[in-house]
Amino acid sequence: MNTSGHSKAITKLLLHLHPKKVNSQAIKFNRTFGLGGIAALLFVILFISGMLLRFAYVPSVKGAYDSIIELQNEVIFGQLLRNLHYWSGMLLVVVSFLHVIRVFYSQSIYYERRKNWLYGLLMMFIVVFSNFTGYLLPWDQLAFWAVTIMTNMLSYIPFVGDSLADLVRGGNEVTETTLLRFYHFHTGLLPLIMVFLMSIHFWLVRKSKGVTVQNCEEKTMLDTHPNLVYKEVVVALIVIVALLLFSMVIDAPLQEKANPLISPNPSKAPWYFMGFQELLLHIHPGFGIFVIPVLVTVFFIYIPFINYPELNVGKWFNSEQGKKITIITVIYAVILTIVVILTSEYFLDLREWMPNVPVLISTGLLLLLLYFVPAAAFLYYLKSNHKAVKIDLVMALFTIIITAYIVMTIVGSLFRGEGMHLFA
């Protein structure tokens, strides 16, 4: 038998994810921080651990919680398996988010990479949706009320909100229908979609001749194997070991069994939605859940289609000046967001002050302007005093949005206690 061609066929197929040779700059760790690869690895870990969890898990109101308890107490390595799945899922959200940040600031989303930016945004959405549908499955108080709160947030979308929320839940409350529905999304449809999207994503990276590099003049090409492959293996091993150690020490949370009659105080959405929940505490829901997210999404989609005369593809922050501008923007946005949160929490009562004005204007538009005007003034200041060019301004706007969301997430998850009061 001629085995030489066959024996390593599978290994070779896997290696075909990469080209034969790669640019030496492209494989420096601080080019990508390995984030895309780590995300892919996490997906594989989630897939395997998830498939195993399915053998123990019972998707019903009666059985779900008990099956998790049994998994943890009776099954050998059951708790570890659950922890591993839980922490990988959380880490995937964080890593995907960092990956988005990385490709954006290293100017890697333009021209032939536009399409991949769009697929990436879609995958980010699906990762969050996957995590959220998994969150309900243990059917404990944490899961039940987080999903109740989140699906009720949907119902604030004008016109279609109520029917959309009912569609997601399969009724007007979180019930067994919801649990089954989430289970099928979580363990069936969404992983399948992810596999398709990831294949397209990797293929598009290859089609754009790999990741961007800082200096496209310099073209020292190295053999992929071993130069890149060894690095990947090392990072993968480190991630796996770190995750395993973490999962041995820290258990995934599990509260009392879900009880629709008693809401815990306070009840919070999953942490990655806390930015939204914080926003909703201040601004009219029509804005918080609809107008602002739609505007932000449209802006994100539109970014790579703008025409920038001064674009340096692959250069971190586009230029030294861009870097400086990004840093001061972060500082400004942190301060602005905190000031607006505190003002609205302690000093503003727009609804009381303007009882005759519709709430959509008073706690909606006016509050948005309270943030928007100082932000716009800051962009204008960047333009006139720092000679910011178009790409700098777009980066600054992106920075403000991301920073605001992170600050709100932190305030909402860490600084709000009983009754969702600050510092309670």
């Binding site: 109740t148 699906t151 009720n152 947030m153 229908t177 529905r181 009659l261 809401s263 969702m420």
Partner: protein, 158 residues
């Protein structure tokens, strides 16, 4: 040259139109599939809240498992108030000391007739239709009524 360009444009247009129609079709079928599974909420289902003679004036009675509170005003009018907070759907509780409904999740408070006393909730609590049959208070727990404010016309008398 111009001809071919036009032709290919028409072709891409047709292709896109077909893709768009197909995606809409899939989306339509899928949403219908999801809807199909919805439980029929508007079923018949009257909850018997007891004999009217035992329900005192100016008192609030909990019916937790049926998701409502029966609130009887001083003038004898009654409201069946839903326990679902209008902010984000947590379960409210009646606080006897403060004489109001409070939501544990984000601290909204509601008066005995369900009106918002403190935000973040913006809408009064939903109510259920009440009818009285042979001196029994029957609450239609499947058909909540949305309302913005409390109005005297919402009360049910004997």
């Amino acid at each position: 040259m111009k001809m071919t360009k036009l032709k290919s444009n028409r072709r891409t247009f047709l292709k896109r139109a077909i893709y768009a129609v197909l995606s809409l079709e899939v989306l339509y079928v899928f949403t219908n599939l999801l809807k199909k599974n919805n439980k029929d909420e508007s079923g018949e289902g009257m909850f018997d809240a007891g004999n009217i003679n035992f329900i005192e004036k100016d008192k609030v009675y909990p019916f937790g498992s049926a998701h409502f509170y029966l609130s009887r005003m001083e003038d004898g009018g009654m409201l069946a108030i839903s326990t679902k907070c209008t902010h984000l759907g947590c379960t409210i509780q009646f606080n006897n000391n403060k004489d109001r409904f409070v939501c544990p999740c984000h601290a909204s408070a509601f008066s005995k007739n369900g009106e918002v006393l403190s935000p973040p909730a913006t809408r009064a609590l939903d109510i259920y239709p009440i009818s009285i049959k042979d001196n029994k208070v029957m609450v239609d727990v499947h058909n909540p009524i949305r309302r913005n404010k409390y109005e005297a016309s919402q009360l049910t008398y004997i």
